[in-house]
Amino acid sequence: MPLTFVVSGPLRELAGNRGELRVGGSAPDVAEALSLLWSECPAFRDRVITERGELRPHLNIFVDGESIRYSGGFATPVRDGAEIVILPALSGG
């Protein structure tokens, strides 16, 4: 089953106003899943991770509802057909 990515904000605009993208391929973990996403939508990469390969500090990624900050980061396992949500954190001023 394809992975489902749910995106918002400028990612949605960069994806032709699609808030949900289905991406085929096998990905054992978040790092591999994101690589599949970058192949589909190259413009996402620099908006989601820094040059150091880190998740931007005010973004969160959830795999099947759990933040990867608490489940192993980019090494978090991804099941076949998982839903991966990329959301801006509740921050600002």
């Binding site: 960069l14 413009a43 908006r47 820094t50 150091r52 973004l59 801006p88 954190a89 600002g92």
Partner: protein, 373 residues
């Protein structure tokens, strides 16, 4: 998101570009500078510390560097005064692999000299210089500065470790001077291959050695285009002039209420004339006595006179940041500044009188001017 307004500039019009913590605004007036229209907000929600206008090679291009807290920073440009903006797929200014660095904020965009119409320079945080030779399509890190042996000892000031000033010497295309808070000034004379500190005479009040080779908290530096040996510097404590192209500096804080401040601007044709906005101490960092006063020298810093006609003189606790003061190229020169309280003021008579162009903007962090060609 807020509704965005646009301006419709014509050749000869003046633009004042205002960068704020919540987006960018474009103000337009004809050459009389009597009535202003406002465009914006552009990039609402993003901090815009760097703006520039590029009219070389037939362009009418505005550059902006929106920094989203969530999605990062990149350079975007508009060839129609803000109606549409580029949105590059990949971040155009980014640290290369191996540097172990990540871009936080773009602090400065400077179009190259007329002799290099496709060159652009960019100062960023963490402190580094990027250069484009193809009108902003691709950017390269200046490795000479990045690999400088003193860089590991540079320390961030309150705004972060930022490269905020880029001065392109009008006489020598290989000579560039930059300023970093907190590292001081560095100069290259070989087009960026090698750099040396250039802070002789500039005080570092916060260090045991008050006059170190580097490590000063330089807030802003300006260079005369007519007489490039003449420069002025607003320091974190200290107001300086150089008559030898920045090789040495002399204190010229004569008659100012405080020698602390952030911005400084120089007259485009008179190298003896400059403007500052002193602030009370590096603790309070607001205009002294609750009076908003710009100070001007007309004799290269021998004296500074307050300019307050039209500016609030009671309960005006304002802060004007390092890039929030600018002059235009018209005659008489126009002077513009923005405050952290979101007020934008302008003078069309070199500071003799002031009017409020806008109030209620988000905190203003950058003000730039341009005459539309």
């Amino acid at each position: 998101m807020p509704e965005t307004q646009h301006v419709d500039p014509q050749p000869g019009d003046l633009l004042v570009l205002a960068g704020t913590m919540k987006g960018a605004f474009v103000f337009r007036a004809d050459a009389s500078r009597a009535k202003w229209d406002m465009g914006g907000p552009y990039f609402p929600g993003s901090a815009v510390y760097a703006l520039a206008y590029d009219n070389r090679a037939g362009r009418n291009r505005i550059w902006a560097a929106p920094q989203s807290m969530h999605w990062g920073a990149l350079l975007r440009s508009s060839d129609d005064f803000g109606r549409t903006w580029t949105n590059p797929e990949q971040a155009n200014v980014k640290f290369p692999e191996g540097t172990d660095a990540a871009l936080n904020r773009i602090w400065q965009i400077v179009p190259g000299r007329a002799s290099e119409p496709d060159a652009l320079y960019c100062g960023v945080e963490p402190a580094a210089l990027f250069v484009s030779r193809d009108a902003g399509e691709t950017w390269s890190l200046d490795e000479g500065l990045w690999n400088h042996p003193q860089r590991p000892r540079w320390e961030p000031g309150g705004g972060g470790l930022c490269l905020h000033t880029i001065l392109l010497d009008p006489d020598d295309p290989r000579r560039v001077r930059i300023a970093v808070s907190t590292a001081g000034m560095y100069v290259t004379e070989d087009g960026g291959a090698s750099w040396r500190p250039s802070n002789q005479g500039v005080r570092a009040e916060f260090l045991p050695d008050k006059y170190p080779e580097f490590g000063q908290c330089v807030h802003k530096v300006v260079q005369s285009q007519q007489q490039p040996s003449r420069m002025f510097l607003q320091n974190h404590w200290g107001l300086y002039r150089s008559d030898d192209r920045g090789e040495s500096w002399n204190d010229v804080a004569n008659g100012v209420p405080s020698d602390f401040g952030f911005p400084i601007a120089i007259h485009p044709r008179d190298s003896d004339r400059a403007w500052i906005v002193p602030l009370e101490s590096d603790q309070f960092r607001c205009t002294p006595e609750g009076k908003l006063r710009v100070y001007r020298t007309s004799d290269a810093g021998a004296q500074w006179e307050p300019l307050a006609n039209g500016l609030p003189q009671a309960n005006a606790y304002e802060t004007i940041l390092r890039d929030a003061l600018a002059v235009d190229a018209l005659d008489p020169v126009g002077v513009y500044f923005g405050t952290r309280n979101g007020k934008l003021f302008g003078s069309r008579d070199e500071g003799e009188s002031w009017t409020e162009l806008a109030d209620g903007l988000p905190p203003i962090v950058a003000v730039k001017t341009a005459v539309v060609t």
